[in-house]
Structures are given as C-alpha cells and as structure tokens.
C-alpha cells in the first residue's frame, strides 16, 4: 500500500498513479483544481472526477487498491 506522502510526492512531480478497481482501470493525476481521477471501465464510458489527495488515499485503503506509477494510457 502506498503511503500518503509517497502519493503526494509522485503526483506533485507530475507523475500519475494507476490502479485496477474491480475490472476497471483507474488513473489519478494532479491538476490545478485538485486530484483528477479517471475511471476507464472495461465495458462502459470513461468517467472523470475531481477530488483531493485525502479522498484518493481513503479510496486506496477502503477498497484495498494497489496503486502504481503509470504512463498516461489515454494519450
């Protein structure tokens, strides 16, 4: 499980975090208005949300996710 400080450092350095939640690929990155989270379900439309780092960290803990540094898969 990634520590909150590690997540923050990685996102602030311009990196992205990817993880699989159920059967969807998800990706988080930092923008001016907060932490963006994109959900790319296997079947279905892409969704994007703006939250903050705390909510992403809580999501990782509650849903037992494994976050990893990723290249932007949407480019």
């Amino acid at each position: 499980m990634m520590k909150r400080a590690e997540m923050e450092a990685h996102l602030k350095s311009g990196g992205r975090l990817g993880f699989f939640c159920d059967d969807a690929f998800c990706e988080a990155w930092l923008a001016e208005d907060g932490v963006h989270l994109a959900i790319l379900p296997k079947d279905g439309e892409e969704m994007e949300f703006v939250g903050d780092l705390d909510k992403l960290y809580e999501m990782q803990i509650d849903l037992e996710l494994s976050l990893f540094p990723t290249a932007d898969r949407r480019q």
């Binding site: 159920d22 379900p41 969704m47 903050d52 909510k55 992403l56 999501m59």
Partner: protein, 197 residues
C-alpha cells in the same frame, strides 16, 4: 405547589433508582478485546474486535442467506451481496463504479468523526456494542424508555438501528479509548434528501 414538589421528589427517586441500576465503567480498549468479551450467540461465536470490526462485519456477523444480510447503500438490495466498504458504506459490485457513487465518495466535503463505543449488557448475559450518545443522549433515552415501559433505540458501530426493551438492559460500559470512524452522509444521499430525487 404540592404536586410540583411531589413531582420533583418522584423524579429524584427515579434518578436514584436509575443510578443504582446502571453502572458506567470507563476502561481502556484492551479490556474489551480480551476473552471476557467472546460471546456465544446461537450457533456461532461472536468476538468483538473493534480494530477489525468494519473489515469483518460482512463475513463473520451476517448470514448472507437470511434477511440479516447487509444492503448495498446505493441500490438497497441484499443480492448481490455488497463486497466493498467505502467510508463505512457498503456497495455491491454493480454499484461501486457508477457515476453517482464515485462522485459522492470522492467529494472532499465528506468528513470523518471518531465516535465513542459503549457495551450494552442485557439481563440474559448478552453484550453488544453501540455508538455512545449517537444522535441522542443514550442514558437519557434509556431512562425515559424505562420509565414509560418503552423500547429503546441504539445504533450499532456501523450505524444500523438496534431496538430493545429498556427493562432488559442492566448495565452500560463505556471504554475510554474505543471508537469507530463515522463518516458524514454521502453527498449523493444529501442531495437526494434535499431535492427528493
């Protein structure tokens, strides 16, 4: 005047009686994680482990074949069984990655409160955990119900209602350092209540 005085005396007597009947003990969390709190309830063994309570509640307490099974917070159905717990709310696989749930649970306005837990002792020896002073003053609520021969309403550590005869309760135990994290209503629920959607 006399009636008013008699009323005051009666209230005092009731209060004294309540104080005798009820003992509130304050102890550390370790005291309630020991063997003393392992209870036999029907067919199974119920161990109160507050550290793992949230994580274990789906698998160990509810029998998914009965109507005790928990409901998905979003679709309110028991089947498929909710597999995910997010901010204390349970979601089934179908609802977890939907727009409303994600938008609601990712909202920075969601807040977490640490809420104290108490143990209720019943006259038949059963003990169970409740949220202490959740929404109402627990002791006042119990006293009122007992005086009027009513049932009293509590909330378990995941916020479900427990209704029980006030007369069956013999004691409350309120540990000092035992709490659960209670999250504010999801933004989605809040919007639904406000708009009636």
């Amino acid at each position: 005047m006399i009636f008013r005085a008699l009323g005051a005396v009666a209230r005092l007597l009731w209060a004294e009686d309540d104080e005798r009947a009820i003992r509130i003990e304050r102890r550390g969390e370790n005291d309630i994680n020991d063997e003393e709190y392992i209870e036999d309830l029907g067919d199974g063994c119920f161990s109160i482990d507050f550290a793992a309570y949230d994580a274990s509640v789906n698998d160990k307490i509810y029998d998914l074949t009965t109507n005790q099974a928990p409901k998905c917070s979003q679709c309110k159905k028991r089947l498929p069984a909710p597999e995910f717990s997010w901010h204390g709310r349970l979601y089934c696989r179908r609802c977890l990655l939907t727009y409303d749930v994600l938008k609601s649970e990712m909202d920075p306005n969601l807040k977490c409160y640490r809420w104290p837990i108490a143990i209720v002792y019943l006259e038949d020896g059963v003990r169970f955990p409740i949220l202490w002073n959740f929404r109402r003053d627990t002791l006042e609520e119990w006293r009122y119900a007992r005086r009027h021969g009513l049932d009293v309403e509590f909330y378990d550590p995941i916020g479900s209602k427990i209704i029980i005869e006030a007369d069956m309760i013999t004691r409350f135990k309120v540990p000092n350092e035992c709490y659960v994290e209670v999250w504010t209503t999801s933004i989605d629920d809040f919007v639904k209540k406000k708009t009636g959607r």
